[in-house]
């Protein structure tokens, strides 16, 4: 999902603990919005509505935990 929204196939193998913001993945507003939209479509979890600070986007691992707790 991350590889698709960023258009960077090399992110397919990114470790779950890599920070999504800043160096490393460098998730920006555009890719972040697309990622949240995909998450909502696939899992029915509206992360933006439930997480004011979007801290769940810190890493793929925190995002997965956030989603799993709401499934």
């Amino acid at each position: 999902m991350l590889a698709r929204v960023t258009g960077r196939p090399e992110l397919l193998g990114v470790p779950a603990e890599t920070p999504l913001f800043g160096a490393g993945v460098g998730l920006d507003s555009l890719a972040g919005t697309l990622l949240l939209r995909q998450v909502q479509r696939r899992y029915g979890v509206d992360v933006a509505a439930e997480d004011l600070n979007l801290d769940s986007l810190e890493t793929l691992s925190t995002l997965a935990t956030f989603i799993a707790a709401r499934l």
């Binding site: 960023t6 258009g7 960077r8 913001f21 800043g22 460098g26 998730l27 920006d28 507003s29 555009l30 890719a31 972040g32 919005t33 949240l36 933006a48 509505a49 004011l52 600070n53 979007l54 801290d55 986007l57």
Partner: protein, 354 residues
């Protein structure tokens, strides 16, 4: 107010059917060609949704001389094509109009996209006289909008082919971002941005030109503009921020502890054309660094929390700003803050500060 008109080709923009005309292709409808030109001059975009091969859109572009911001040629549903155009241009359905001579196509779009304004070609010919097609102020950026979107299509195609990271592409494309204090000539465009931006707007309400002029004249406030250009085109003034210090206090009275200077940013706004091009991240990095250089200990950004401005919240989070959990006020606002100590966000080397 309509921001984009999605046009059918056969028997609408052309005076016949593209695929049924053999070598003798139909010409452009003269009335609607005039409408295309008039809408473009008012900053209203045009796009194509057609059951034709992509070559038909190139042909229409050639015979009408119009710039199309998005093109959907294919045999799928037109309601889906409009949804893709809306997503590509970051527009809500209620600012889109759809023009088609075919009653069934109009009915399908009206049913699937009730917020889209659905028109016959005859109605579209009259539309320039209607209020929803008549913006009150038309800025230089607005007059060039169709051209800017056509440049954006070429930039997007190049980005899709480019292998590296976003930063590598921004460098490769010769991206130049200029941060400078606003001048009086910027006021109409700043007002327009405050009205038109939603996804990347922290305040969620328009700022009038007199209010902007007052802020510009006030020594306690700073109005900061962002201009963006690259090898594909010059987008001009794409964003701005207002920053206000509290003046701090370090009075002579030793019994009153010094109050830390807090820099408050009541408005950050950025055109969606700048989405994905690092402009908002760079502006936030500059705000942090500039406030810190002025001696502020904290940056505060009050932000309306809505479904539409999630991209703004993402940028705030990426720049290290956080709001207290559950602190959204009854008016829908939360205050995002960050201390201005430790490591501040980096300004990329393609940013020029004036």
């Amino acid at each position: 107010m309509i921001k984009c008109v999605v046009w059918d080709i056969d028997n609408t923009l052309l005076t016949g059917v593209y695929l049924e005309s053999g070598a003798d292709l139909p010409g452009a409808d003269p009335g609607l060609t005039g409408v295309l030109r008039e809408l473009s001059a008012r900053g209203i975009l045009s796009a194509i949704a057609s059951r034709n091969p992509p070559a038909a859109a190139d042909y229409v572009q050639q015979v009408t001389g119009a710039d199309f911001a998005a093109v959907e040629c294919g045999w799928g549903s037109k309601a889906d094509a409009i949804a893709r155009i809306a997503a590509e241009l970051s527009l809500a359905p209620d600012v889109i109009a759809f023009v088609d001579d075919d009653m069934l196509e109009r009915a399908e779009v009206a049913a699937a996209q009730p917020d889209v304004l659905v028109l016959t070609p005859e109605e579209a010919a009259e539309a320039p006289a209607w209020p929803e097609f008549s913006p009150a102020v038309i800025t230089a950026e607005a007059r060039r909008r169709s051209q800017l979107y056509a440049e954006r299509r070429r930039r997007q195609a190049a980005a899709n082919e480019f292998g590296g990271s976003r930063d590598d592409f921004l460098r490769h494309a010769g991206t130049q971002l200029t941060i400078a204090p606003a001048v009086p000539d910027d006021l109409p465009r700043l007002h327009e941005l405050s009205v038109r931006t939603h996804q990347l707007n922290s305040a969620g309400e328009p700022v009038t030109q007199p209010d902007l002029a007052r802020l510009l004249a006030s020594p306690a406030d700073a109005v900061i503009t962002v201009r963006l250009a690259d090898d594909f085109g010059d987008d001009g003034l794409v964003g701005a921020a207002i920053m206000t210090g509290n003046g701090g206090s370090s009075g002579p009275d030793v019994h009153v502890p010094a109050r830390a200077l807090v820099a408050t940013v009541p408005l950050i706004m950025m055109s969606c054309r700048a989405l994905g091009r690092g402009a908002l991240d760079a502006l936030l990095a500059w705000l942090c660094r500039s406030a810190a250089a002025d001696g502020a200990a904290e940056l505060r950004v009050p932000c309306l929390v809505t479904e539409r401005n999630v991209p703004m919240r993402l940028a705030l989070a990426a720049a290290g700003l956080r709001a207290e959990a559950g602190s959204v006020a009854p008016d829908g606002r939360a205050v995002f803050t960050r201390p201005l100590t430790g490591e501040l966000p980096q300004l990329p080397d393609w940013v020029t500060v004036k």
